[in-house]
Symmetry: D2
């Protein structure tokens, strides 16, 4: 985890970057000996959860309670595969929120192997609570400033 | 699906066998080019659900309502891998209940490729409802005779 | 499978659409009771392979031999999740090649539940053979006209 | 990792136990909110590879070269599910070789959550090289004493 400087237009901003290491497992790989595409989306989903826990300093169960959300459902996911990730490769995944909007946000993931970018991902997610008129449905909610602040500073 | 004769001690019984075809997918296989072990357990889990739907003639959502169960949680799973199952292999999985006990039962799965046994599995599952003293917990329930009858005859 | 009319600029073209049915399995779903995002990418990957086998009228093993390719590696994958896909939902996935370029192509996937679009996906893949200067590496190759023709007419 | 005393008949033996921590991910869990059964087999498979790397002090790529094996293919896998493992639960998996035979061996896995046994697994694997009479086939080989020694002492 670290906070690094990042220019998003003006002014200069500092944003929270969550980093974790993982090793490519036998079960992640396909007959070509490289990570099967769906596994990258598992890796990125996991990194998003871990990034929120790290940025907010609480477990995902806690932040659901504290902020009255049901979750952060994914509405779009994308990945580009640039270099093969092979069995036993050590990788680092760096993740940050590239944009917060009123009730949705984008996450960016970069997976490095030997310092080289092997895969890039992006996710769009919604800050979602229960629909007050229908408890079985979800409804997007404004993302609290307190949450966004934890990813800045 | 078929019903075949099977001697389980005495008397001669006829038991329901659920059969389905599947083709081994690229994403099922590991770098050795064969189905990764955890996938067999997915296949067998799926066959058990489909077998119950076929034997009872109702969807799993319906049979939960009709019989007041929450599910049929797995307490033990086992598989033996006899021959490699490779990408694009066409397989047949035959499944039956090898034993019904008071509130649990055993399922047997056999996966054939080109008529030869490639993998064998077994599962032990519980017929489970809500615990009347604690709604968050499950409690095993006696398996109704009507259910068992659907697997006999 | 069907061939449907589709205007891509001029002239009017007819393109091959591969359709398949699948039922959402218990093991596909997450604690929210809906299909976990990585599973959609498994579904779409599988549909692409099946579409090629259907369009070319041969198994993937055969088309690799016939056309001298090692595979059709994925370089980009994307999905949008529009409506929840739940356990036991019956779905139809319709897939077609939205564009053939010299040595790469795009696949589009649409997953319908009860006639409504639940998820949309797209993939960019490369037509890849062995690198003649390094047998361990892949190299993109021109897609044969005979292949493209099978997706038209 | 640790070496602990374990009585296997006589004499008292000390065997290598490989321990690792993992946190249950959202994508590991099913609609009941607990780890889907096939995921335990992924966890155990991974622990076996890591245990060999730790015991032998080399990567799996290295030990294949050093010992002339193609791999340690699984011929049987089994798991018992004793307590639910839920999203975000922190778990410890302890693995050891419960028996070495001439060319096969058994691995035992125990997964603890909050110090309580949540799942138990066992695997039977073969020490396998290429068949000298058919390079496409595997053939079991005697397990070198040097390997077995690394799990004792």
């Amino acid at each position: 985890m670290s906070r690094h400087a990042q220019r998003q237009g003006e002014p200069l901003m500092v944003s929270f970057v969550y980093r974790r290491q993982l090793t490519v497992e036998w079960g992640h790989c396909d007959p070509a000996g490289i990570v099967f595409n769906s596994r990258f989306f598992e890796f990125f989903d996991r990194s998003t959860w871990l990034m929120f826990e790290a940025a907010l300093g609480m477990s995902s169960a806690e932040f659901k309670k504290v902020f009255g959300v049901v979750g952060i459902p994914l509405v779009e996911a994308k990945a580009s595969f640039l270099r093969p990730a092979k069995f036993n490769d050590g990788a680092e995944i760096a993740s940050d929120v590239s944009e917060f909007r009123r009730s949705s946000f984008d996450v960016r993931h970069q997976m490095f192997i030997d310092g080289q970018l092997a895969a890039e991902g992006s996710e769009t997610r919604v800050w979602a609570g229960r629909d007050p008129t229908d408890a079985l449905k979800l409804k997007s909610k404004p993302i609290p400033t307190a949450v966004i602040e934890r990813f800045r500073a």
